[in-house]
């Protein structure tokens, strides 16, 4: 059941990205291009997604999930350097190509060689990060690294 739930949620998420046009890097880059022919569509996507998830999260916040023992809400509230530097680096990559992780994965369906290379390098960047973290905290307690935001 957990697998089916994951699949259905991924599928609905994918339909959302597809229908909104956010799988097209050009449309994303045209949103980020404030000094060109600006396409505000991404802002509408975010507002609509936030309206539904804001209300929905408030409703499901206190109840236990149906298929798992407990909700895993992110717990961190601090603004630290990794958050700022990581976000800045992510933004540079996003601005260069117009793909963030969701649309990048979804575009694998087109079997485009450039997308396959992009997703492979993106995964390599993630593994590189984990490897670097393990090296950094080799002698410290990994448990103190904290929970991820998602």
């Amino acid at each position: 059941m957990l697998l089916l739930a994951g699949f259905v949620c991924g599928f609905i998420f994918g339909l959302g990205l597809l229908i909104s046009g956010m799988t097209q890097p050009t449309k994303v880059l045209n949103f980020l291009d404030l000094f060109g022919a600006w396409d505000p569509s991404l802002a509408v996507v975010m507002v609509a997604a936030l309206a539904v998830s804001g209300v929905g999260f408030a409703v499901v916040k206190q109840r236990a999930p149906l298929l798992a023992p407990r909700n895993q809400w992110p717990s961190r509230t601090d603004i630290d350097r990794p958050l700022l530097i990581g976000s800045a680096l992510f933004g540079i990559g996003w601005g260069l190509v117009g793909l963030c992780p969701g649309p990048a994965l979804e575009n694998l369906a087109t079997l485009s060689p450039r997308v396959i290379v992009f997703v492979s390098a993106m995964a390599a960047g993630m593994v590189l990060h984990d490897f670097w973290q393990i090296q950094r905290y080799a002698h410290a307690e990994l448990a103190t690294a904290g929970a991820a935001d998602g």
Partner: protein, 140 residues
């Protein structure tokens, strides 16, 4: 050149929000794609639902194609160096920041998380600067 598509953007956005709420309601997990993929790549034990989610994500356009709405290959930079460098930055950066457009930009802001609001402002700003530089300053 793309045109402003408010209706499809609103419908698509609402579906993204719905998927995030459903995932939390059913599995108790946050729909952050970099977290889902990152957890799959690290030594995390609960890999199966992550694979299922990503499979659903990839099969959505396949269903669209079967329904008569084929997805065209995305426009990507000609330079392989830029493709690979950008992808490394996206992968490393989202893991360092513990989230991407979905985890921070949608789920985090929906929870009114200050961390996520700051992260979103930072990655949007740096992306806007990069696009301004590549499209208008460097003539790309």
């Amino acid at each position: 050149m793309t045109t402003f598509t408010p209706l499809s953007a609103a419908i698509g956005g609402a579906l993204i929000g719905l998927a995030a709420v459903l995932l939390m309601l059913l599995t108790g997990r946050l729909a952050g794609i970099s977290g889902i993929l990152g957890g799959l790549l690290s030594s995390s034990r609960d890999r199966a639902w992550r694979v299922a989610f990503i499979l659903g994500l990839i099969l959505a356009p396949v269903a669209g194609t079967l329904a008569g709405y084929p997805m065209s290959a995305p426009a990507m930079p000609a330079s392989w160096v830029i493709v690979i460098a950008a992808a490394l930055l996206v992968g490393f950066g989202t893991r360092l920041a513990s989230g991407c457009t979905s985890g921070h930009g949608v789920c985090g802001i929906a929870r009114l998380s200050t961390r996520s609001i700051v992260a979103t402002v930072v990655f949007m700003s740096s992306a806007i600067v990069v696009v301004a530089l590549t499209r208008h300053m460097l003539g790309g």
